[in-house]
Amino acid sequence: MSLLEVRDLKKHFPIRTGVLKRTTGHVYAVDGVSFDVEKGETMGLVGESGGGKSTVGRTVLRLTPATGGNVTFEGIDVMKASRNEMQKLRRDMQVVFQDPYASLNPRMRVRNIVGEALTIHDIGTKAARKQRVAELLEIVGLNAEHAERYPHEFSGGQRQRIGVARALALNPKLIVLDEPVSALDVSIRAQVLNLLEDLQDEFDLTYLFVSHDLSVVKHISDRVAVMYLGKLVEISDSAVLYDRPQHPYTEALLSAVPIPDPHTERSRKRIVLEGDVPSPANPPKGCVFHPRCPRAQEICTTAMPTLAFTGDAGERHEVACYFPARFSGDQRTVASEPFEGSRPVART
């Protein structure tokens, strides 16, 4: 059993218009996403803005109710958990948000920010809690003296450390990291990434790491899932995905990231996608990627392909595409016949 199992997760936000706020449509932020996260691994979730990555993170934690699907954490159904069960679950599932300026209450001292969870879950005496906060601050590379300060007295990187300390307070098993380093400068970003790696080893943590930055995701993740318009289009071991992307969107995404090395940059061939990401309120029929896809054919306009193993590369490499790139040795080919594995099974 995996630590976290997500099955056919859906989150549709209603669009309400007019005086009566009637629902006139939906934003299909997450539309049928399935993946597993094993204990101790880091699962990266990448994609462009509007792809639904953050919504997956929030829905998994039930910070926002799902429209459909299942999330199972250690065998417990998160979507159906009662209030009491949910409170217990929250100890094991924590979150760190992107913006270290918005996610810390400016009127609370660090002591209270980090210790709040301990109070809510009624853990230890007051003295023990104080001790624990001091310990947590040391763990994330701050000092015990910082406990009496307010968030505005810290720089961005330090604030993100406070956010991490808060997430660690209850000894969680899973931490959802929602763009945890996107607001930080490169030198500070490296500090926080190293800290996250150290903490994972020390406390046997499992991460769901949401980010738009492919270099960062590649660096930290064991496995990576690529999202586009609410769907997972490819999922695989990190190294395999970056060396042998099968989905055309993954290929384009990877080739668009500039490499900080002028020689490499001069010799690279880039795939520049045409147009913009369509609105998730009105996703294209068929494969959501087909209007921008260089490989699209008629079948792509009929139905969204499903994630399936192509049998290439890593065993855990799945792709949702009728025309995935296949690899044998150094040979990369794209078959002219549609890939049967991705053909959706008609539901009866």
């Binding site: 462009e48 803005s49 720089s155 990187g157 330090q158 400068d185 490169v186 030198s187 500070i188 970003r189 490296a190 500090q191 990434l193 190293n194 790696e197 738009h212 492919l214 270099s215 960062v216 590649k218 660096h219 930290i220 190294a239 970056y242 060396d243 384009a252 995404l253 990877l254 080739s255 668009a256 990231v257 500039p258 490499i259 900080p260 090395d261 002028p262 020689h263 490499t264 940059e265 880039r270 520049v272 996608l273 913009d276 990401v277």
Partner: protein
């Protein structure tokens, strides 16, 4: 001398605040030639944006003030020319595009009209002519259905299209110099790739000089010809792109290169961050702003700013560590490249 467009010498821009003097830009010099792209790289607060705003004379005064230096555009010093003359320079000679295209476009004015406004302001054109030119410009920067799109408001554009519109406006008067301040930072990577292509094409067409401000060394590697590395208001190192990436001399440049996760790395390696926190700009030392974070700090670094040392053609560094020691130190850093033998 190549076709020199701009020569900035010892530029210093300070902000006089209640808390103290912020030396946002402190004695910065650089040049820009035709057909050349200068990348200014540095972290937030390093002074890269203020340097650009100083060139455009857009630093809010008070509290900001260009306290020293010369910015020579041909034989005119942008620091001393009259406001009227400066208005002629903006748009005509130097145009600027900003990071966030939503806040730099007027939300209640149609996109076409905004571009046409820039044209009528600087050129002797009728409104109709200017609007036709705006349509042509939008088509040129790759906006589909330009004749319809000129009638749209900015909110009807996606982020990438807004940035294209900004570029269209910037090139509307064929400026010699284009300053792009984090032009792709707010955009997704696939859109960033599109915008970089548009900027390249425009530069080739107009043979302009481009100043690209970014914190992203990947973007720098992709389009810059030369690079200026800023830290705490100072230029710590400048050089051609290859010199900065493969023969860097400043500990801060090394630190930056070593702290980057790379997409093309096959082995999972640990990052080497720069220790410490970004400096407080009000209490910057008289000497090198990198003290406190520099692993090779010397006693004299804090109080004395090192003179510019030329270490190669088009390559200079400001650092107290003697050159031979620097090279020995660099050789011990596995993540910082050495020049090819």
């Amino acid at each position: 001398m190549a076709d020199r467009l701009l020569e900035v010498k010892d530029l210093s821009t300070f902000f006089f605040t209640h808390a103290g003097v912020v030396k946002a830009v402190n004695g910065v010099s650089f040049t820009l030639d035709r057909n050349e792209t200068l990348g200014i790289v540095g972290e937030s607060g390093s002074g890269k944006t203020v340097a650009a705003l100083s060139l455009m004379r857009l630093v809010p005064d008070p509290p900001g003030k260009v306290v020293e230096g010369a910015m020579m555009l041909g034989d005119r010093d942008l620091r001393t020319i009259s406001d009227d003359e400066m208005r002629g320079v903006r748009g005509n000679d130097i145009a600027m595009i900003f990071q966030d295209p939503m806040t730099s476009l007027n939300p209640v004015m149609k996109v076409g009209k905004q571009i046409a406004e820039a044209i009528t302001l600087h050129q002797d054109k009728s409104r109709g002519e200017a609007l036709r030119m705006a349509t042509a410009l939008l088509a040129r920067v790759g906006i589909p259905d330009a004749p319809q799109r000129v009638e749209c408001y900015p909110f009807e554009f996606s982020g990438g299209m807004r940035q294209r519109a900004m570029i269209a406006m910037a090139i509307s008067c064929n400026p010699d110099i284009l300053i792009a301040d984090e032009p792709t930072t707010a955009l997704d990577v696939t859109i960033q790739a599109q915008i970089i292509d548009v900027m390249r094409e425009m530069q080739a067409q107009f043979s302009s000089g481009v100043i690209l401000i970014t914190h992203d060394l990947g973007v720098i590697a992709e389009i810059a010809d030369k690079v200026m590395v800023m830290y705490g208001g100072r230029t710590v190192e400048y050089g051609s792109i290859d010199e900065i990436f493969y023969n860097s001399h400043h500990p801060y440049t090394w630190g930056m290169l070593a702290s980057l996760p790379r997409l093309d790395e096959s082995e999972k390696t640990r990052l080497t961050p720069i220790k410490g926190q970004p400096p407080d700009l009000i209490t910057l030392p008289e000497g090198c702003p990198f003290v406190g974070r520099c692993p090779y700090e010397r006693p004299k670094c804090r109080d004395n700013w090192p003179a510019l040392e030329i270490v190669g053609p088009e390559h200079g560094v400001n650092c107290w560590i003697p050159a031979d020691e620097r090279l020995a130190l660099r050789a011990g850093l596995p993540k910082v490249k050495e020049p090819a033998a």
